[in-house]
Amino acid sequence: MSGPLLQVDDLHVDFATEHGQMHAVRGVSFDIQPGQTVALVGESGSGKSVTALSVLRLLPYPAASHPKGRILFNGVDLLGADGRGIRAVRGNAISMIFQEPMSSLNPLHTVERQVSEALILHRGMRRAAARVRTIELLTEVGIPNPESRLDDFPHQLSGGQRQRVMIAMALANEPQLLIADEPTTALDVTVQAQILELLMSLQKKRGMAILFITHDLQIVRRMAEITHVMTEGKIVESGTTEALFANPQHPYTRKLLAAEPKGDPPSPAADAPVLVSAEKLRVWFPIKRGFLRRIVGHVKAVDDIDITIRRGETLGLVGESGSGKTTLGRALLRLIGSEGRIVYLGKDIEKLSWGAMRPLRKDMQIVFQDPFGSLSPRMSVAEIIAEGLAVHAPQLSPAERDAKVVQALTEVGLDPEARFRYPHEFSGGQRQRVAIARAMVLEPKFVVLDEPTSALDMSVQAQVVDLLRDLQRRHNLTYLFISHDLRVVRALANELMVMRNGKVVEHGPARDIFAAPQSDYTKALMAAAFAVEAAPSPEVAQ
């Protein structure tokens, strides 16, 4: 058949809110040819996911509505189709994979049941035939020993395997169009590279078209033939990916392309005093089995790690999820129990009681990953920031405390008037600034930054990185920067520590490791992060 497979024509999407109609998508048009990969790029709130969900009419109707526009699939208008018509398309000619593989799979259904559901529903297959086909599909998406995996539940699979099962479900009915809504955002870089590779090879083999929704420009560059850049519900620039990256026209595209975290890490004096150190630090979580809950083994989250952080430096701690980096950070602050010696400014703190630790908490602060979860939704920004002051500086009068809050907010680049508002009124980047202000108001010496940028949009990431570096210079702060994102780490850390399964794989000056990684694992991480390439080595997780 000639002509485009999917034709989106002047699509508008409105949402009814208590403040009136909100226009999420305002006049988006694009085509997808058979077998083509088209990317919709934009930051959160740009309307890219809403556009993709409109294709299958998966928005929360009737709150959502389409005042204008058409979506033609093989010449049939999907927006005008009735319930039966749209259901015939969903999961059949057009399939979709979502961002979060854990919540997209039903936790109470086995892998076989989830994959074969679409086969039985749309193809009318019998159970036995569906089972055979399921095994074929699982093999195709690269799940080793698919027969033995059929009876597994989603929680028994790793994140990458869950996403592979999702893809198998999407492929079950040989769709002509696959809509992938941020399919790798929740995955580790190495796994992300494998999944992208899989999608590309499947596309080549089956000749299906892919509509790829992402905020990650590197993925776009690697995957898509045509790229549409979206912001505020409109497509501001379109073109072949190559041309668009080589010669961006629209200021927003340029801003996106320039949003990579940049700058140089600090270079503290080599003889700077040691601020925090730990010897043979160990956090083991017991595994208990049986009726008597006997301890049969341990999860070695942090396994005999030595760590030294000097005043004014930033130690970058990288590793994939489950490598123990967050546990190490929390153990250093004595937020969780650990074994081994922890020294802060020459003083052993591993045996101090909770009460005896309290005065030290002023000096040692932490900023968490999720700016939505780390701020209490029931407290105003002023209350959130002043909470630590009430503990560590109870002598302050309300006016003095307020002055401190204002100062902290100014320092992180927020309007002090914002202190009367509540967290839900802020964007992700602004919330993370509030979280940073909460730590900074105590004037700490040592700050653990636990993935502070990974929940943020790319351009916001760069701003937060700049802010952190600026604060470090002004107050001679010492950072332990925990991240899985090597691009951010490169801009912040002067020392680097690579962790895997609770052990240190590589440790040294960041510049040297980035220039010439020694271990295979570090090499694989770097390839996945900077070139979005899957490592051939068996080093990385599945």
């Binding site: 949402f15 009814a16 809110t17 208590e18 403040h19 909100m22 999420a24 930051e43 959160s44 709130g45 740009s46 309307g47 890219k48 996911s49 809403v50 969900l53 998966l58 928005l59 929360p60 709150a63 979502f98 961002q99 979060e100 919540s103 997209s104 799979l105 809504d181 929390r330 602050l333 937020l335 630790m357 309290r358 908490r361 040692m364 602060q365 932490i366 968490f368 990953q369 999720d370 939505f372 979860g373 780390s374 701020l375 209490s376 029931r378 407290m379 909470e387 630590g388 503990v391 560590h392 008037e417 009367f420 508002r421 509540y422 839900h424 009124e425 802020f426 964007s427 992700g428 909460r438």
Partner: protein, 391 residues
């Protein structure tokens, strides 16, 4: 459908309405939205108003139904019998306390001044001596004027045979005015329910909070103890205890509290278990905030949503329990105005239909109002409804 929900939530966050430079609001935005959802439930709002009006009116039961006049002017002296117990000697009698309904006293006062009565001239324990027929007697408006006034010497023309001496809902089998007993009974039932609800919430929240926050052995042990405790057949135990100890209002409250505090433990514990792993709790711990402050400041507000949602239902449950015990005769002391006792009289005097019907309608109206209020509160705190306008 999980995936769809997860997929569509993220795009909207950036659209969260942010009106700038606003002074600190009196109610937090989320509570404003809850109030709006509550107000949108017309049935709940009406129920709340009706319940509040009834509650406030019955709080002043002494001014509505009383066998003492509100104000008396006797020989130029202004007296307030509703507040002060005057000896009968004051009016020329001999009793320690004046019986104002006595024709001798009322004639004496009317001859030397005047008196203002409450709309209903009976208290909950007033036995109407003027009844001539068999008790329980019919509502006065169903009787002929002759029947009504048979007791009085002047018959229908007697000034004492007036609307103030009406038995609007008849009398019970001891000649006491049913409406007066109803007003006092409503008050005591609702007060009892409220006090029991508040006390059992305090105990339940405290226990649930400690279990959820501390977890581990404390949680495990306490959970097993609660399981054993709740499997005790509480009604039988209540019957046994109240047949040994003569139950006063407070003793009964204490006995019921022994068993009702467990209602909230489960949900509060679950909320604390869930919320203690939130990152903002970890952040507060990293700031050095004490455990008590974390529990009251960060975790309790989370648990309050579930608690407030449950409260109207617990209140309804408490009223029911008290009524049931009174019905069985193991409740409040003999002679107290109580809905359960009214119901049991209705059962014993089936021919006096006004007893049973009154009791039935009163109890069902109280419970219906409370359930409607509870539903509206539950809607208001339902996150799906609270945020429905935003999705």
């Amino acid at each position: 459908m999980h995936g769809i929900a997860a997929g569509i939530r993220s795009p909207f966050i950036a659209f969260a309405p942010a009106d700038h430079a606003r002074p600190a609001p009196r109610l937090s935005p989320i509570n404003q939205r809850r109030l709006k959802v509550f107000n949108a439930n017309r049935r709940g709002v009406w129920s709340l108003w009706i319940f509040l009006i009834l509650f406030i009116l019955t709080m002043f039961a002494e001014l509505i139904a009383n066998d003492r006049p509100l104000v008396v002017s006797y020989k130029g002296e202004l007296l307030f019998p509703v507040l002060v117990a005057y000896p009968e000697t004051k009016f020329g009698g001999f009793l320690a306390e004046t019986i104002y309904r006595d024709p001798f006293i009322s004639d004496e006062i009317n001859a030397n001044g005047w008196m203002i009565w409450a709309p209903i001239r009976y208290s909950y324990n007033t036995v109407d001596e003027s009844l001539t027929g068999a008790v329980p007697s019919k509502p006065s408006w169903l009787q002929t004027p002759e029947e009504r006034c048979a007791f009085y010497p002047a018959g229908v023309a007697d000034p004492s045979c007036n609307i103030g001496n009406f038995h609007w809902l008849g009398t019970d089998d001891q000649g006491r005015d049913v409406l007066a007993r109803l007003i006092y009974g409503f008050r005591i039932s609702v007060l009892f329910g409220l006090i029991l609800t508040v006390l059992s919430s305090i105990v339940g929240i405290g226990a649930g909070a400690l279990q959820g926050y501390l977890g581990g052995w404390v949680d495990l042990t306490a959970q097993r103890l609660i399981e054993i405790w709740t499997s005790v057949p509480s009604l039988y135990l209540l019957l046994i205890i109240s047949s040994i100890i003569a139950p006063s209002f407070w003793v009964l409250l204490g006995i019921l509290l022994l068993f009702s505090w467990t209602a909230l433990v489960g949900i509060v514990r679950a909320e604390f278990l869930r919320a203690r792993n939130f990152e903002y709790v970890a952040a507060a711990r990293a700031l050095g905030v004490s455990n008590f402050k974390i529990m009251t400041g960060h975790l309790l507000p989370n648990a309050m949503v579930a608690t407030l949602t449950f409260m109207p239902f617990i209140l309804a449950g408490s009223v029911t329990t008290l009524t049931a015990l009174d019905f069985l005769g193991f409740g409040l002391p003999v002679g107290s105005p109580s809905l359960g006792e009214l119901l049991s009289q209705g059962k014993d005097n089936l021919s006096a239909w006004w007893l049973g019907i009154t009791g039935f309608f009163t109890v069902s109206i109280i419970l219906t109002l409370l359930v409607f209020i509870g539903e509206a509160v539950r809607d208001a705190f339902d996150p799906r409804k609270t945020f429905a306008g935003r999705q």
